[in-house]
Symmetry: C5
Subunit: 255 residues, 5 copies
C-alpha cells in the first residue's frame, strides 16, 4: 500500500506531521515530569503511566520519522522533484503495532488509575481490559502484514471483537463510576469517553482503506496524517486531560 | 524563495545564527529547570510552560539547523566556494509553522499564568486567545506553501485577523491587569507588551517579503537572521522576563 | 549460524522485536526512576539495581539493533527484496554475553535485595551466586564463538554446572524464605521462581540449536524472537514484579 | 588563516585538545549540578549561571570538534598521512564568537552574583559590564571574518575599548569589594582577578597573530591549543573557584 | 604499534571489551547518582567525584569505541574476513592520556575525600599528589607518541618518578590513616591499596611492551583488553568500593 512516488508537497506534509507527533509526545512527557510534584501522591501513578506512554510514543515516532526520511528520496536539486522509494530502505508500516502493544494496555491502566476505584473493581477491570487490548493488537498484526484483502478482512474482524468489548466495558464502567467522582471532574471524565471513541476509531478505519480499494498516494498521505492526529489525541491530549483531572482531585482532597 | 546559491559568508551567517538559537533556547530551558525551586509553587506553572516552549523551540531548531546543513553544499576545498542546493535535500520552510502551532498558544498560556488573574478571567482569556492563535497559524500555512503571490496574500490577510485580535486582547487585558499587579513588576510587565509587539511583528513582515518582490539570497539571509533574533526574543528572553516576574512575586509573597 | 539471506518479512520481524526490547527496557527503567519515591528507603536498593539492569539492557539492545540494521541489506526499491549480509558489517552474536556478564549477577542481587533477609544469609548467598553466574557466562562464551559443535557442546556442558547450581540455590532459598515473607507477597514471590525458570531456560535452549542441526533463517529468526521475549521477561517484567513486591512491603511496613 | 595541510601529529593534537575541552566543560557542569545542594540558596544563582556557561561551552565545543573532524581529511591508510582541507567542509572559525556572545556576559554575571553585593551596586555593575561585553564581541566579529589586515586591525582596536573598560571596572570593583568579603575567601577572590586577566588575555593575542604575520600550520595549532586552554581556565576552572567561594560562604553563614 | 590487520575474532574481542567498559562506567555513574541520597552529606563529595570520574571515562570510551570501529574495516560479506586499517581513519592511541589527565587526579581526590582526614592533612596530601599525577601523565605522553624506543624509554622513566612517589605517599598515608578509620571499613580500605597497585600497574606495563619488542596483533589485542579491565577496576570497581565505605561510615555515624 506504500505509494511508489510522492510529490514534494506530500513528502513535506508527512514529514511535518510525523515531527509534530514527536514534539507533542516528547514535551507532554517533559511537562508531566516537571509538573508531577503538584499532584498528590495518590494520583501520581496515573501520571507516571502517562509519562511512560508519551515517552514510548516519542521513541517510536523518532524511528518512524527516520524510517520515512530514508524510505523516500528525490534526485532533484533542493529536493524539488518527485520522491521515489529508496533502494534498500522501506517505510516500516508494522512499527505502529509494536507501539500499540505497549501503549494501548498502558492507556487503559492510566484511565483506571485516575478513577481511583475500589481496589477490587480496579483489579477486575484490569484483568479484563489488558488481555483484551493485547489480543486486539496481536490479531490485527497479521492482517496488516498481509497483501491479501481476504486475510486482512478476517483478522480485522477477529481484532474487532476485543475492540468492541473494550469500548463496551470502558463505557459502562466510566459511566457507572461518574457518580462516585468529585463534581469538579465529572464533566471532563464524561467527555473523555468521546475523545477515546473519536481517536481510537481512526485506527480500524485506516485499517479498512486497502479493503475499500482506497489506494494511491493521496489516500496514504491522508492516512499518515490521520494516524498522527489520532496519536496526539489518544496519548498527549489524553494525558493532559488525565493530568487536569488529577490536579482537580488533588485540590479537592487538599485545597 | 529559497536562493539557488549562497556565498560562504552567507552560509556561515545563517549557520551561526541557527546554532545561536539552539544554544539560547536549550540553555534557557536548562536554566529554568535548575532555578525553578527558587519560585513559589503558585508561579511554577508559568515557568513549566516556559521550559516546555524553549524545549520545543530547541528541538525544532536542531531540525532546521540539520536541514540547512544538508540543503546547501559546496564542492570547493575547505567549503570555500559557492554553496548550491543539494541533490535530494530541501530546506524545509514549513517547519517553523509546526513549531508555532505548539509554541504560540503556549506563549499566551505562559503570560496568563504569570498574571495570576481570577480563575474566571483566566479561563475566558484562554478560551479566546488559544483558538485565535491556532487559527492564525493554520491560516498562514497555505499562504506560506503557495508559489502564487495571490494565494499568499489572501491567506496572509485572513491570518492577520486573528493576529490583530490577539494583540488587541493582550494589550487591553495586560494594560487593565497592570493595576492589580504588585508594584515591583508593573514596569516590567508594561514593557513586556512591547517585546511581544516587536518580536511577533517580525513574522508577518517576513511573510510579506516575497509579495513585495524582495527576493534573492541577501533578503533570504536577512530573513533567516530576523526569524532567529525574533525567536530568541519571543521565547528565550520572554521566558527570562517571566522568570524575573515570578521571582519578584515570590519574594513579595514570602520575603 | 547467521543466515546468508533473510526475506523482508523475516528482516522486519527481527527489526520489530529488537526495537520492542529497547522500548521495554528503557521505559521500565524510566518508570522505576519516577516511581521510586513511592517505595520505602529500605527497599530502594533492589529498585536501584533493577534500573541499572534495564538501563544496561537498553544500551546493549541499541547496539544490537544498529548492528542488525547494518548487517543485512537489500538492493531492491523500498527494501522489498531479499536481504543479504552486508559487506564489512557483521551481526555481533557475542554481544549478548557482554550484556549477561553484567546483568545476570545484578539480577540475582536484585532478587536477594528484595527478600530483605538477615545480613549473614544475604552475604552468604551473594558469595555463592555471583561467582557462579560469572562462571556460567564466561564458560559459555568460547562455546558460542566456536564453529565446532564438539567445542560448543563441551563448554555448554561446563556452563550448565554453575547454571544448575544457581537454580538449585535459588529454588531452595526462595522456597525456604517464603515463610518469613509478608503474606501479601508470598504468592507473587512463589510465582517469580517460575518466571525465572521459564525465561532463563530460553538461553541454554537457544545455545543448543546449532548442535541439534536446527539451522536456517527460520530457526535463526525464531531464536532472535525467543531471545527478545526472554530478555523482556527476565529483566523488564521481572523488575516490575520486584517493584510490586517492594510496593506491597512498603505498604505493609508503613500503611 | 586555516592551514592547507596538517601533519597527523598536528591533527591529533588539535583533536585531543578540543575533546579535552568538551570533557572539562561537560563534567564541570555535571559536577556543579550534583554538588549544588551543598550550597546555601542565596549563593545558588552564581552556580546556576556557571552550569549554564559550562553547558553552552560544551555544546559549542561539540560542534567545533565535529567541524574540525570533517574539515581535515587524510587519504592514507590508518590516517597516517597528511591531512588536507576536505571538499565542501570548512572549519568554522566564527563559531567561537557565537559562544562568547552568550558566555562572556554570563561569566560577568556569575562573578557579580557570587560577590553578593548590595542590590544597587549589583545592578549598576551589570548595566555597565554586560553591554560592554556584548559590544566587545560584536565589534571583534567583523575583524575576525575579514581577510584584510587593515579591517582586522581597526575592529580589533574598537573591540579593545570595551575590553579595557571591562577589565578596569572588574579590577577596581573586585579590589574594592574584597574588604567586605569574608576573610576565608578574600585571597581566592584576589587571585581570581589574575585568572581572568591571564585567560581573557589569550583571545586578543590570538586575534593579533594574523596581523603579526604569524601564519602557518604550527602557529594555527598553537592558537587552537591556546584557545582550548584559555576556555578551560576562563569557564571550567573559574566555575570551580566560584563554587569553592560559594561553599566557603555557605559554611561561614551556616557552619 | 597499531597492527596492520586483525582477524574477525580479534576485532570482535576488542569491540566487545571496549563496549563493556562503556556500559560499566556509564551505569556505575547512573547507580551512584540514584543511590547518593542513601549516603550522609559529609561523604557525598567522594561520591560526586566518583560519578564525574566514571562519566568522563564513559565519554572517552564512547570516542575510543567509535574510533576503533572506523579505524578497522573488512571488505568481506558479513564482516567475515580480515580487518585492515581504514583509509583516513586512525585509532587514536593518545586519547587515553587525555582521559588520564582528568581522571587520575580525581581518583586521588576521591580517595582522600572518603578518608575524611583532618583538613590540614587533606590539603597537604592534595597539594602533593595532584601535581605529581598531572606530571606523571604529561611526562608519559611524549614517550607514548614517539616511534623511537629511546625517547619512549626516557620519558617512561621520568614519568615513573612521580608514579612511585604517588604510590609511596598513598601507601604510607593509607596505612597510617587506617588506625583512625572505623573498624567496619578498615579491612576494605586496606584491600583498596592492592586494587590500586594492581590496576595502576597495568598502564606502565602496557607502556613497556613496544620497548620489549612485544609487537604484533596478538600483543596489541591483549593490551587493549588489559587496558579495558584495568580501567574497569581503577574507576568503576574502585567507585563501588568507595561507595561501600561511604555507606558503612554513614551507617556508623547515624545508624
Ligand atoms: C479494531 C481494529 C484495530 C484497532 C486498533 C486500535 C483500537 C488501536 C488503538 C491504538 C491507540 C489507542 C494508540 C494510541 O495512541 C486494528 C488493530 C487496527 C485492526 C483492525 C481492527
Ligand atoms: C499575522 C500573520 C502571521 C503571524 C505569525 C505570527 C504572529 C507568529 C508568531 C510566532 C511566534 C511568537 C513564535 C514564537 O517564537 C503569519 C502566520 C506569518 C502569516 C501572515 C500573517
Ligand atoms: C546454561 C548455559 C547457558 C546459560 C545462560 C543463561 C542462563 C543466561 C541468562 C541470561 C539472562 C537471565 C539474561 C537476562 O536477561 C549459556 C551461557 C547460554 C551457555 C550454554 C549453557
Ligand atoms: C579585546 C579583543 C577581543 C576580546 C575577546 C575576549 C576578551 C574574549 C573573551 C572570551 C572569553 C572569556 C570566553 C570564555 O571562555 C576580540 C573579540 C578577540 C577581538 C579583538 C580585541
Ligand atoms: C608510570 C608510567 C605511566 C603511568 C600511568 C598510570 C599510572 C596511569 C594510571 C591511569 C589510571 C589510574 C586510569 C584510571 O583508570 C605512563 C603514563 C603509562 C607512562 C609510563 C610510566
Ligand atoms: Na528522504
Ligand atoms: Na498501514
Ligand atoms: Na552543507
Ligand atoms: Na518563509
Ligand atoms: Na539494513
Ligand atoms: Na547465538
Ligand atoms: Na578528519
Ligand atoms: Na581565529
Ligand atoms: Na569497522
Ligand atoms: Na599505547
Amino acid at each position: 500500500m506504500i505509494p511508489d512516488t510522492l510529490t514534494q508537497g506530500q513528502y513535506d506534509t508527512v514529514y511535518n506531521f510525523l515531527s509534530l507527533v514527536i514534539a507533542s509526545q516528547l514535551f507532554t512527557a517533559v511537562f508531566l515530569v516537571i509538573a508531577m510534584p503538584r499532584i498528590l501522591p495518590r494520583y501520581r501513578q496515573a501520571i507516571t503511566v502517562a509519562i511512560v506512554v508519551c515517552g514510548i510514543a516519542a521513541y517510536h515516532y523518532f524511528r518512524i520519522f527516520d524510517s520515512f526520511k530514508e524510505a523516500f528520496v528525490s534526485d532533484a536539486a533542493g529536493g524539488a522533484g518527485v520522491y521515489t522509494q529508496a533502494v534498500g530502505a522501506s517505510f516500516n508500516e508494522g512499527y505502529r503495532y509494536v507501539d500499540w502493544l505497549l501503549t494501548v494496555p498502558l492507556l487503559l491502566l492510566e484511565l483506571i488509575a485516575i478513577l481511583a476505584l475500589a481496589r477490587k473493581v480496579q483489579t477486575s477491570l484490569l484483568l479484563r481490559l489488558l488481555p483484551a487490548a493485547a489480543l486486539m493488537i496481536i490479531l490485527g498484526y497479521p492482517g496488516e502484514m498481509s497483501d491479501d484483502n481476504m486475510v486482512r478482512g478476517i483478522f480485522g474482524l477477529l481484532s474487532t471483537i476485543p475492540f468492541l468489548y473494550i469500548l463496551f466495558v470502558l463505557f459502562t464502567q466510566l459511566t457507572k463510576s461518574l457518580a462516585s467522582q468529585p463534581a469538579s471532574v465529572r464533566r471532563t471524565l464524561s467527555q473523555l469517553r468521546f475523545l477515546i471513541l473519536l481517536s481510537w476509531g481512526v485506527y480500524p478505519i485506516a485499517f479498512l482503506l486497502p479493503i475499500l480499494n482506497i489506494e494511491g498516494s493521496d489516500a496514504w498521505v491522508a492516512m499518515q496524517v490521520g494516524y498522527s492526529v489520532a496519536d496526539i489525541l489518544a496519548k498527549a491530549v489524553y494525558a493532559l486531560i488525565i493530568f487536569y483531572v488529577a490536579r482537580m482531585k488533588s485540590y479537592d482532597d487538599d485545597p
